[in-house]
Symmetry: C2
Subunit: 268 residues, 2 copies
């Protein structure tokens, strides 16, 4: 299995604190030694850092931990390989373009029979993971259903939620997907989130001797949501998502919480 970490914020925010906790799980406090990657959005542009090396020993991870890249949306992944060899083409997150946006995808879990159950016509995978295959299948389904024009966000993410629940029937599929503006999280069996806003307090990492006082790092209007496989701090309240539940975030906030985020019938 792997671990996921994502962030949605209303102002460009660095993720150094959470990232430094997660990276310890890549070969140090956790067993996820088979590579890691992170994608930072700045507007519609994004940049990724990836390494098939364990994150706890990666000079690139060290740079990302220390160099505060400010972003409104971030997706991180540390890998414990179960489908596909340990190499760069199988390292998450996966990024592809659709409708003039960069789409980023990361997956924690394992899928059976994905090559037959999720047939692909247009968006051919580069590597051999179940994860990239499922992402390509999602893009194919979006292309087939909506063509060249992106639908409104409610239609789009309800549709993606339906696709995620179909993928989830093949095994375990905790999924993060974002276009840099909206950030979608689907829980198969293991996903937590919290939103930080004023009044800000202190937080302490579980995986490293690091604490931060967000009061010193933020303004009163900042809103930042963090989504992670397992809580990263031991002195904040994390919401545990339930099987089949999905949430949509935009600019740090849950989107239309009562209206469109909710529970799908888990077809498991």
């Amino acid at each position: 299995m792997c671990e996921l970490l994502a962030m949605s914020a209303n102002v460009p925010t660095d993720i150094c604190f959470s990232f430094s906790g997660l990276m310890q799980r890549g070969g140090n406090t956790g067993p996820h030694r088979d590579g890691w990657g992170v994608t930072f959005y700045e507007g519609k542009g994004c940049r990724s850092f990836k390494d098939p090396m364990p994150s706890a020993q990666s000079p690139i991870a060290e740079l990302v931990t220390k160099y505060p890249m400010k972003s409104e949306a971030v997706v991180c992944h540390i890998r414990q390989a179960n489908s596909g060899a340990v190499n760069l083409e199988n390292t998450h997150p996966f990024i592809r373009q659709m409708w003039g946006r960069n789409w980023t995808y990361a997956h924690n879990g394992q899928l059976k029979d994905f090559t037959t159950e999720l047939p692909i016509q247009f968006h051919l995978p580069i590597g051999t993971t179940d994860s990239e295959h499922a992402f390509c299948w999602i893009l194919d389904q979006l292309h087939i259903t909506f063509g060249a024009k992106q639908p409104d966000y409610k239609t789009l993410f309800s549709f993606i939620a339906n696709l995620a629940s179909q993928i989830d029937t093949l095994g375990v599929a905790n999924i993060i997907i974002t276009d840099g503006e909206y950030l979608f999280a689907y829980c198969s069996n293991n996903l937590h989130w919290l939103t930080r806003r004023a009044p800000f307090g202190q937080a302490s990492l579980i995986d490293a001797e690091v604490a931060v006082d967000f009061k010193k790092e933020t303004t009163a209007n900042d809103v930042v949501s963090v989504i992670a496989t397992q809580p990263l701090t031991d002195d904040e309240t994390w919401h545990k998502m339930s099987a089949g539940q999905w949430q949509l975030f935009c600019l740090g906030e849950l989107v239309d919480g009562a209206l469109i985020a909710g529970k799908l019938t888990a077809n498991k």
Copy 2:
């Protein structure tokens, strides 16, 4: 204008030496202050490092200079913006997927009337540069002409050369494009290349007080070609490409030099 640097090699080779020379031109020995990027291939996988900051002052560029990432194909670009704002989405190289491969594109030059002369249906640009638009147009033309199946490399790169010469009629278009296996270079007005092989000698950078003795860094079978806007060393013989000329490299070698690489009629 911008500067390009690319490498094709028959063994995974680091580009630290050439890269450290090029990075000096990004705000130090050259005026290309509007960002930089580099893509390294490892097999079919690739990773990019990008920064809208000047390369001579970028902590990420410093990491890439010092951390020897070994690769068979590399594309670098430093930018002096003339089309599109200075931001991440306008920073080269551009990467998109087709036929189960990562395709990387970088451009030095400037195009007029590209939105009308290079109409796009499928591969929509994310940023606002002439360069990304032309890349999307190339992918559209490949998709329209060859569909879901990649043609043989001779057909493919002859076709791409024809597209490059059409782009070149709109202004200046020195182009590098690669799928990590083949590396294609089109010269509009400014592109040089050399191939390093045994017996290896010493080389000295023009832009920094750095010399390297390749005998100590290589084996007798290594073959490495480097393509650059301007020669990076002052004690090696660089081949200057002529207007409308293109070259294809694979595993460090010129491909079928006499057979398919050659001069197109420049429609300028």
